[in-house]
């Protein structure tokens, strides 16, 4: 059930101190699953922000260094970590002093969820 998926994401959210938000969206930034804490910045969860990953990934692939796996942006107040799980983009929004390695390690724990979601965006 969707509630179970959200509950699972919320559990992952609570595992890491300073992790505010986990969003699984399509490459245009339309959210499919989204769990956020109260501290989550609104601007970092907007579609316009989430969709920049798709553009950056397309261009980054031309650098000849292989496929872009993840993009980590460190801002003054927040971190935005985005993972390439096409057709999905997984976005984590964290505090500035959150342990980035812990967030990257969540990738393995998100893997069981993604095959189920693949059917959701399959026809679009």
């Amino acid at each position: 059930m969707v509630e179970d998926m959200n509950k699972y994401l919320r559990k992952l959210l609570s595992k890491i101190d300073g992790l505010y938000c986990i969003i699984i969206s399509d490459r245009d930034g339309v959210p499919i699953l989204k769990v956020c804490s109260d501290d989550s910045p609104d601007k970092a969860t907007r579609t316009s922000f989430l969709s920049t990953f798709g553009i950056a990934t397309d261009q980054g692939g031309k650098l000849g260094l292989g496929k872009t796996k993840s993009i980590i942006c460190m801002y003054e107040n927040f971190q935005a970590i985005q993972m390439n799980k096409l057709p999905f983009v997984v976005t984590f929004v964290t505090s500035r002093d959150c342990n980035t390695g812990h967030v990257l390690a969540l990738e393995a724990q998100l893997e069981p969820l993604l095959p189920v979601l693949r059917g959701v965006v399959g026809d679009t």
Binding site: D4, K15, D17, D26, V30, I32, I55, Q59, V116
Partner: protein, 172 residues
């Protein structure tokens, strides 16, 4: 090369003899002769191997392909446009995803993967936990005392029977 010379000599022979054929030249210009000479073998080659040489349309499409590949490999920062979804398109897609997600979730009966039982559990911020002050022994004693009292009270809870739960109705 031998072929070039032969065809050249042959044409010269024709022109010297004065016979006007379809192969005789209108101009006796050596430069044009050379160009003609060069064309002969390529024509021969094309007639011999018609499939091996690219035709004009193939050449054009190949050039277009190269152009497209080059254009797609160039990072043009100025031309990057952020494709923003229209509001209605966004809403439609969200609705679509929600419906599909509900359908798939019900169909596949997704359950969260079982968590491995481990004595060493992940802590969000171990340094914070480790740096906190330890519990005072007196507080610990107080807590133990209250817990024991609560446990004793719980164990002494008994059901006091006062009246029958099942009452027979007097049905006439």
């Amino acid at each position: 090369m031998g072929n070039c010379c032969d065809s050249c000599c042959g044409d010269d022979a024709n022109s010297q003899s004065g016979e006007v054929t379809e192969r005789s030249r209108l101009l006796e210009d050596p430069v044009s002769n050379n160009t003609n000479i060069l064309r002969v073998p390529s024509d021969d080659f094309l007639s011999r191997y018609p499939n091996s040489m690219p035709k004009t349309s193939d050449e054009q499409s190949a050039l277009n392909r190269i152009l497209q590949e080059t254009a797609s490999n160039v990072i043009d920062v100025a031309a990057l446009d952020s494709h923003t979804l229209e509001q209605h398109e966004y809403r439609e897609r969200v609705t679509h995803y929600t419906q599909r997600l509900n359908g798939i979730a019900v169909m596949q009966r997704w359950r969260s993967p079982p968590t491995k039982v481990c004595l060493l559990a992940d802590l969000p911020a171990p340094e914070k936990l480790l740096s906190t002050e330890t519990v005072l022994p007196t507080d610990l004693q107080t807590m133990n005392y209250f817990m024991e009292a609560a446990s004793e009270a719980m164990s002494n809870i008994k059901v006091e029977h006062k009246e029958d739960l099942v009452v027979p109705f007097r049905i006439p």
